[in-house]
Symmetry: C2
Subunit: 448 residues, 2 copies
């Protein structure tokens, strides 16, 4: 499985002869070569010259797409995929996810992250916004770097809930730990970021949320949380804080461009106005919302109000798959089913899956399109598969027909991480075997 290792060390790569797709630009399709030097795109135009020591990738008949940006995942939950189906959110959290997170040790966290990143890279995701657990976030960041995926990472914060004691934070110590992670890992210029992540209002004290708001402002860090995922969550938030989640975040001074709110299934047009005015982002996770019976987020209304909506697969334990192809298609199909077949056409949903995700994470100048100067985060797709032939409009083909089997090469920051469909930054067989074994041990520790 470790193919192409030597090639991946080349300092310059030339992707020759493909169609370059940029859902986030006006010129969405150009036939061009793409030159990558070190970690960044050096040029996008026809007839680029390859030096002797260049790695030349023949892209004749292939599509180059900016890497997918998933703005809401939990790679710490990959180990309980296929173990916790057919449950509503709170039962799923209390019955599986909290006990399993509480039982995580560094080894199981490593196995969980590695499996998640392997699946994400092999299906074309190059950047994630990940919410971890209360411990071992450092392990997640290390594995992201080893396997070559870009991301923003966060230690989850939860200090007021009826879950396992091992997940019960002291608010001051927990925020301090998050800031220590930021001291160690936060490096926007290298594409690794640390966020603050109160799980949701329902597991937070007011003091925790206030500490988060102060630290986020003080350090210019993003805040990654769940918001209005279920009716029950909204009701519990109202019971605890006397207001709905959106009003709460607004009252705390959090409603700004640094706020990343996953789900927002149960929000109103008035709330969408507040989100848009504040500049916060909604992280849409359509599969999870269906699977946990939460409903479908009103994203057409949000977008009409000017809210930035991006996409995420959420955790493998509630999806149960991490492919962006699936999320993009599900997002588009749901809106068509609800509001008509011309809603959320393929180019729009591809922009959500790339550029809008980059903008949400404050990385719009660095990733999200294939342009000179940006990080070289590039997915090469082969449309020549039974599921996607005949081939005409590339966006429609990607969203409605393709899947991970169409992913041929993946580059992150100039480093080739998938080549000819094979992961080259980890041994996939080893990753899967370790994950299967770690899952069994974790389950035993959790008593499940």
């Amino acid at each position: 499985m470790r193919a192409g290792g030597s090639r991946s060390k080349a300092m310059a790569t030339l992707f020759r002869g493909g169609s370059v797709l940029n859902p986030g630009l006006e010129d969405r399709v150009v036939e061009a070569d793409v030159l990558v030097e070190d970690s960044r795109v050096a040029g996008v135009r026809s007839g680029l010259h390859a030096g002797d020591d260049f790695d030349v990738v023949d892209c004749e008949g292939l599509l180059l797409l900016p890497g997918f940006v998933q703005t809401h995942v939990h790679v710490c939950q990959t180990l309980w995929r296929n173990l916790s189906d057919d449950l509503p959110l709170m039962e799923w959290l209390r019955g599986w996810t909290w006990p399993m997170e509480a039982a995580h040790d560094a080894d199981s966290m490593r196995a969980s992250a590695r499996l998640g990143f392997a699946e994400l890279l092999l299906s074309g995701t190059t950047t994630v916004n990940d919410m971890g657990s209360v411990r071992h976030t450092d392990v997640i960041v290390e594995e992201a770097r080893t396997m070559g995926i870009r991301g923003q990472f966060a230690r989850v914060l939860m200090d007021d809930h009826d879950g396992p004691k091992a997940l019960l934070d002291d608010p001051d110590a927990a925020v301090k730990e998050s800031l220590a992670l930021a001291d160690h890992f936060h490096d926007p210029s290298a594409g690794t970021r640390i966020a603050l992540a109160p799980r949701f209002a329902v597991s937070s004290s007011l003091r925790l949320l206030e500490l988060v708001a102060a630290a986020a402002e003080d350090r210019n860090l993003m805040v990654h949380t769940h918001c209005a995922e279920t009716k029950e969550e909204v009701r519990l938030t109202e019971g605890r804080f006397g207001m709905r989640p959106i009003a709460l975040f607004q009252a705390l001074g959090l409603m700004n461009e640094n706020l990343l709110m996953a789900h927002c299934v149960h929000t109103s047009p008035t709330e969408h106005e507040s989100i848009a005015v504040g500049g916060a982002s909604v992280l849409h996770c359509p599969t999870t919302n269906l699977k946990l019976g939460s409903g479908t987020a009103p994203i057409m209304d949000m977008m009409k109000a000017g809210v930035r909506v991006s996409l995420g697969a959420d955790g493998a334990a509630c999806n149960n798959n991490l492919s962006m192809f699936r999320e993009a298609r599900t997002a588009s199909l749901l809106q068509k089913g609800l509001h008509g077949p011309d809603c959320l056409p393929a180019w729009d949903v591809l922009r959500m899956a790339t550029m809008d995700g980059a903008t949400a994470l404050g990385m719009g100048d660095e990733i999200g399109t294939i342009e000179a100067g940006k990080f070289a985060d590039i997915v090469v797709l082969d449309p020549h598969r039974c599921c996607s032939v005949p081939f005409d409009d590339p966006a429609g083909a990607i969203v409605y027909s393709m899947g991970p089997s169409n992913v041929l090469h993946v580059m992150v920051g100039g480093r080739m991480v998938v080549r000819d469909g094979l992961l080259i930054t980890a041994d996939v067989e080893e990753v899967m075997t370790e994950a299967q074994e770690a899952s069994l041990r974790l389950r035993k520790r959790a008593g499940l």
Copy 2:
């Protein structure tokens, strides 16, 4: 791509050491060997002995599932995949599907069918209920036999519509042609069947529907049609016949076990009672219904009323993919999103995708489960993929996590058609190239 040709000729095959899944039986999971002699399963039990000339397939750690049964597809439409997105049904029919069907010649029909069957087999579908066009149904049946997929096939019937003249049938001649196809191909004992297929009420005269009803009863043939797919279709049917589609089919004497109605998105609880009492089947196509903006069929209410619901991907031109994994997952997720997370759990939707489809097609005694005496229609799945590890409940893993990349081997009627993920009854590269070229020519002929 033509691997394992000689092996596929073995008269006996032993699948050794896998987990045999039968969503349609009480014993849903048994660890057993499966012996296949000629076209049928000879035994399902542990410790079966392999003769010297047996093809022994090592299934240690693998899952054996009855082949998927798709009860509503149109392989004649595969050539305009990715060409007709974001349109409502009637615009899609008038703007693309009718002109393209009208322009089909035998060669383009052959290319379309071959591409569709290749994708279907590679993703584990072993039986289809296919609705063709007004011409070249014989080509579809021939290619199904060549490529090794089982099915029920039908010449579409449409004698009263504003579509292309080339699709305007004379009702008597058209039904006569369908019966000639039945004379030639209908052979339930070999697993090939012919049905009668008035496209939908909106493109039919009363005379055509009456001829179909009489011929179906006379020859004991099934009737395959579209029903209540959109509100507009229901309205147009009421305008033409003075009643809604379900009442119309009932008035014609068609509401019995031989009636296969695709979609039924806009039907009422009272209509579900009628369908259940009559014993007709609903063919649920959730992706198409979303993509064309038709809505979501009320299948929970149908099933509560006792209606048999099975699944189909519909055509590649309105889906745009033919994988049953996708339909099964979408069906389950939609009902969870609408009615709660415990709706349509994985085993139930897998039964819809196998045994319920077999029963709908009147083939419940021949296919739908892996049992001694039935045709050997078997899919071998490898759960050891990044997207489906860790692995625990097999049904959940198949429905929520897996996709075509998990399909390792496929057998239809004792004939191995996919081995180690490769199609062995056709050259896939050739199939794709021919389809791409035929699509361009067809489009030119249709002036699109």
